[in-house]
Amino acid sequence: MKADILIRGGRVIDPSTGLDTLADVAVHDGLVAAVGRLEDVFAKETIDADGMLVAPGFMDLHCHLREPGSADETIESGTQAAAAGGFTAVCAMPNTTPPVDSPAMVEYITLKARSEANVRVLPIGTITKNRQGLELAELALMAEKGAVAFSDDGSPVADGEMMRRALEYSKIVRRPIIEHCEDLTLTNGGEANEGPVTTWLGLNPIPRASEECMVARNLVLAIRTKGRLHLAHLSTGLSISLFNWAKGYGANISAEVTPHHLALTDELLAGFETYAKVNPPLRGEEDRAAVALAAKNGLVDAIATDHAPWSDEKKKKEFKAASNGISGLETAIAMSWTALVIGLGMEPSDFIARFTTGPARVLGCAPPSLSEGSVADITLIDPKTVRAVEPKDFASWGKNSPAGGMELSGWPRATIIAGRAAMLDGVVRRWRI
């Protein structure tokens, strides 16, 4: 048989079918042509995957590509970072300038992605017009143009009645309402997680209740409206417990956690390290452990990067004035692998599920799959090599990673989208839809 790419000898793990076996994967004409012990394959390109994991393409539910309106990242650079990081599809958050709050803006993102993106881009529209929390945005018309979900991320929908209406309305658009849970009256100008670190550094504290109170409000509204709610970046043990509690009421809910909240703690803020300033803030060890455990045992559906690139102009300044966010696409898999698989003994198939079937379930789309005839979106992971994070080598324009110098394993080795490599052995290749 003929193949564009032959992936030889890897451990093929496909959570969508339960497959976990040593096999070759042949890709041809953009599809998975065959999986098994393949002989007599004439391949244009062969990837030696001995010792590698071969998984369906990883999806990121939550990243900031910053386009339009910012000099900190573009759709092109952000999706090159995604390819470098092992992601075949990323959901782009709409808190841009101007925000993606209309069908025309969704179409703009789609068209821009078609000509410039290096991986698949799934646009997210805002919940409210101009992210002001005052009037619903045109959710159905944005959905028609390809919006996969709705979120005012960066800000919460502060008004309870507005959130209640958005959740009711989500029932006819059949897309999740993604909420950034934060009670701004409790955050009250805070800069970092309330605890020993804020006391020691003299930073304005953000109480954990700021997130947890809003999580509780939104879960109650989801229970009462039966609307479709997805909770972004949960970061405390109590948030996870509340989420689990609401499942008992049959709420139509899902949740994500980020690699940095499951792997890192607020101790990284020592010396006023603004690269570790993020919202929700890095928490203490107790919360980090609870978040990691929830990711391991599947209490939460997905791991999402919340990739938030910033130039040093916005980061290297007084702690109070520095922007929130971590450039995360290129460290997400290794940071999570090191914390969960190495640290907690998580099964690789469960790990892969949090980046494939989990996100697909959140979005209500077919999961990426390696079964024959499926679209050939594939992520290869090297589970062995230990390497230090080197932010200056990021494809992302944002070098703002607090993980610089950390020794991690579980690095992506190849990103294949529709049968073509967008990254191989750390080298990003030009890829277009």
Partner: protein
């Protein structure tokens, strides 16, 4: 002589030997300047710049006179943070002054961590003159100096620090400094003005002022910023004064002859009553003189001839 670190940004930067060396040098300069009326030239040819992004006439004057008593040139720069572009303002101002020949910076800023950031930008040594809610190391050293003058040692002494601990850089630096010198520190505030994890300050924490005062050798009162009332952190000045204000009656609960201190400026009638502030046990004015001596010692040891 124990050398000092390049910058003084936090009381964490100094170990006990270094603190003792500063105390010895400060005592020397206090005698020279205030008893012998001598003026020195150990910083002749050097330029010290005070860079104040937060107004504080008292602290700036103290640093300015300390530098002048040592023979240095002094350049005072006051910048309102509202007019300075955040971040860029700090960096550009520092580099500009550095290129004009400044040998030592003293920085005061209303944002925590600003002194650390500033020190990362400029080449000359930096003394933190107070940054946000983070630290105020020279205040801690002058407080220690006065305590040593009065008691000879703070080892095993009980120091009560009472007031808005949560927002106080002075309390933080005092706790670190006194802890290194072997004192037993108790911090006291209402729950709304107590930090979340007071144990990291290495002090015993209580909400009860009587408990804090019990057996105290020194009672350090902190300034209460009145805007905290609008933020809901206490209901009224009179209720605060009743619960946490120092009066002669409250002072009787401390060890007889206990010393009363305050970093100043005071809110009379709020955290401290007039009779307590002006009584025979008050050391508040003497603290000011120690401030000049301690700052002289630091400047000499950081950029002077023998450093």
């Amino acid at each position: 002589m124990a050398g000092l670190p390049y910058d003084l940004l936090s009381m964490e930067d100094l170990d006990r030997l270094q603190i003792e060396a500063v105390m010895a040098r400060a005592a020397f300069y206090k005698r020279k300047v205030f008893a012998e009326k001598a003026r020195m030239d150990v910083l002749a040819g050097k330029t010290v710049s005070t860079l104040f992004f937060e107004p504080s006439t008292r602290t700036r004057c103290s640093f300015e006179l300390a530098a002048k008593y040592l023979g240095a040139e002094v350049l005072n720069v006051e910048i309102s943070t509202s007019s300075a572009a955040k971040g860029e303002g700090l960096k550009d101002t520092g580099l500009t002054l550095q290129m004009m020949g400044v040998d030592l910076f003293v920085i005061r800023h209303d944002v925590s961590g600003a002194a650390n950031l500033f020190a990362s930008y400029v080449e000359p040594p930096v003394i933190n003159g107070g940054d946000g809610m983070h630290e105020h190391p020279t205040q801690a050293l002058l407080d220690l100096m006065r305590m040593l003058e009065l008691m000879g040692t703070v080892e095993g002494k009980r120091i009560a620090i009472i007031g808005d601990i949560a927002h106080s850089r002075v309390a933080k630096s005092d706790c670190i400094c006194l802890g290194k010198m072997g004192a037993s520190v108790v911090i006291c505030a209402p729950p709304t003005l107590m930090p979340e994890n007071p144990e990291v300050l290495g002090a015993e924490a209580t909400y009860d002022m009587d408990k804090a005062l019990d057996g105290a050798d020194v009672v350090m009162m902190l300034r209460l910023q009145l805007e905290r009332q609008r933020a809901g952190l206490f209901p009224s000045v009179r209720e605060y004064h009743r619960l946490y204000g120092l009066t002669p009656e409250k002072l009787e609960k401390a060890r007889p002859g206990a010393h009363v201190m305050h970093p100043a400026p005071m809110n009379r009638g709020v955290e401290i009553s007039n009779p307590a502030a002006d009584g025979s046990q008050s050391q508040i004015n003497q603290q000011v003189t120690c401030g000049v001596a301690v700052r002289m010692a630091l400047m000499d040891m950081m950029i002077g001839e023998g450093c």
